[in-house]
Point group: C2
Chain length 388, copies 2
């Protein structure tokens, strides 16, 4: 069991009547606010007007950057950095999905340095300072509202790279489940897979770990399995949206890691898919995760699957271990592809075998992903083939 | 489901090789450190020397206050306040059990005001400022290391009052499971009951709540049930001590509340027992909790017991609801009195019927505890009688 540090100072306002505090929280950091958002869905749901009204009420000066796309591009980040510098922005307010939140964090960091923000990814330039960021997520998925991570794409180099720093932790986040009522079925499904994957990447380990955190992860996974289908059927079910939203934050805010040092496996593989095909991240994860689990299953790893199957999917603990393991993978795939209704093969979403070798090589950085089971290029290509 | 704010900025170093960071963390707040501790058990386990050496290594000036007792007294707080003021202390370092941590928080608050620190309790004087506190807990129980609460006794008035404030949150806590290896069976048992009780007080509710948090609470309770007996049998089992320690922090750091507004029931009842009889808080809770659960069980509340019984104690879900409920109380009592080996009646620990009326009246403040089931003086007296 490794030593670890847990520190998550993000202040969260959770619930449907909390936006009245956004002005007071922004004001703590200054007068000049940059509001960032995506394609305008926040206007459709009325959130844009509400936010603007609250900000104005507090006498703050508002600047705007819209048009941040899914799989956010470094170009959006550059634009934001320029505005921060030109307009002497004090605090950024990111309203939208994980993409808007991630891009905004790197605007906040880019505003404090003289070099191009892509250097944070291409050259691993130090992230030592950032402007304060406040977030209002409109999707339960990436957990970006409660962590210091972000993933940025560079279409020129066809790269998609994730990185984090404690200075990128939002100061405050407003989690209002009603802001996710209009998320359509497909994105609700993809977001739910993303949450599941954040937990699965940590849960499946051969390292000695804190059992207490395993019980927490099992509870979080059961919560997704219970409420994602309800949110699909009843998009404005507050209870379902609230459970998904708070679970998404806790799936990736540092708590469940508890000193586990192993690398994630499905996320780096998926980033290659969405870097090249621009598919939705959660869908890529749904395609990869059951096949990856199948690929990693052997006599050494089977115990963890048994725990997963019996505690998360209530599989009869008296069935023999290997069969529980296999059944747990089937049930996970069934959840992704039948319950959540996601297409179940690479072919169906247009991912082609010709790119496997290139993507696999880049996923492991030309070496090995030191995850649940070490994966080199050939292993990853094999997992890709299982997804065809 | 109520709106809520979650904000817990405490930085936690968890593990056995983290004490090397204590000097660097203290230094962030100044030069003059007041080390507070209890009866000297930290000397026996070598922690006192280690802490002192780390503090000295960082060139800090160290002052000391020892002798803080279980059920910490306002007198200790007053002494600490005086030292803080006289010696111009910058930061307090509390090393010990929950009592030392709680008392130290109120020294830190008292150092910032001109009035007597008992006014925080007797007059509900505002707690607006406090010196920074760093903690090193040596017991898994109160969770004081990750919250802003504290309970202080006044032997003159025979009162024991709990109160909290965000400004009392420790800045940093060092959680080293090896520091709890020498905690004896009795205190390990009482600490484990305290953890269970912090969860049970929140879990048993009739308010609509976040199911996700219920799954977390069930995981935390299962963790205590699994590891407390191991810690009793093998006091230096790192895994058991680590799981109990991290569970104790998360049982009462604000996370599991998630907007629940109801009052706690067993804690105010117990504070009257330990205010008058000076028994160990966790033992008082063990005596009260199963009887309180029995008293609150009826057709309106039975569902929560069913959930508890099936998810925490693995009682067959096909048994009828009321019988699952009754069995869950029996299993909890069995865990406290047989597995953990605690005496099971008031008579055995010397609590007498003559004080019931007085204690019951004070427990509900002469009115009603608005908890899982509202409890007035007569209800509390009845629960006390069930413990005889």
């Amino acid at each position: 069991m490794n030593d670890f540090i847990y520190h998550n100072p993000v202040k969260v306002y959770f619930g449907k009547d909390q936006l009245c505090h956004v002005g007071e929280e922004l004001s703590k950091f200054g007068k000049r606010v940059l509001l960032t958002y995506g394609g305008g869905s926040i206007k459709k749901i009325g959130l844009y007007d509400k936010v603007k009204s609250e900000v104005k009420k507090s006498g703050l000066e508002l600047f705007e950057l819209s048009g941040i796309q899914p799989n956010p591009r470094i170009d959006s980040v550059r634009k934001g950095v320029q505005i921060c510098k030109d307009k002497k922005i004090d605090v950024l307010l990111a309203v939208g999905g994980g993409s808007t939140l991630d891009a905004t964090k790197y605007m906040a960091a880019g505003a404090c340095v003289d070099f191009d923000p892509w250097d944070f990814f291409s050259k691993w330039a130090p992230i030592e300072k950032a402007l304060p960021v406040i977030t209002i997520p409109t999707l339960a998925a990436t957990g970006s509202e409660m962590n210091g991570g972000g993933v940025i794409s560079n279409p020129e180099t066809k790269e998609k790279i994730g990185r984090g720093s404690e200075v990128l932790l939002p100061k405050v986040s407003f989690l209002d489940p009603t802001n996710t009522f209009t998320v359509n079925s497909y994105h609700t499904a993809c977001g739910s897979v993303d949450i599941m994957s954040h937990i699965i990447e940590v849960y499946f380990t051969t390292e000695p770990d804190l059992h207490m955190l395993d019980t927490i992860m099992e509870g979080l996974m059961r919560t997704v399995i219970k409420y994602a289908p309800i949110a699909l059927k009843e998009p404005d079910n507050y209870e379902a949206r609230a459970n998904l939203m708070w679970t998404s934050s806790w799936a990736i805010n540092g708590f469940i890691d508890g000193g586990k040092k192993h690398e994630w496996s499905c996320h780096p593989m998926e980033h290659e898919l969405s870097a090249i095909y621009d598919i939705i991240h959660g869908h890529g994860l749904a395609l990869l995760t059951p096949r990856w689990l199948e690929y990693c299953l052997d006599e050494n790893t089977v115990e963890k699957y048994y725990q997963f199957g019996t505690n998360v999917f209530d599989i009869d603990p008296n069935i023999d271990t290997m069969n529980v393991a296999k059944k747990s993978i089937e049930m996970l795939a069934d959840f992704f592809f039948n319950t959540l209704g996601l297409e179940d093969t690479f072919s169906k979403v247009g991912i082609q075998e010709k790119d496997f070798s290139f993507m696999a090589k880049r996923a492991c950085g030309g070496g090995t992903i030191k995850g649940f089971k070490p994966l080199g290029q050939k292993d990853i290509e094999e997992i890709f083939r299982m997804c065809l």
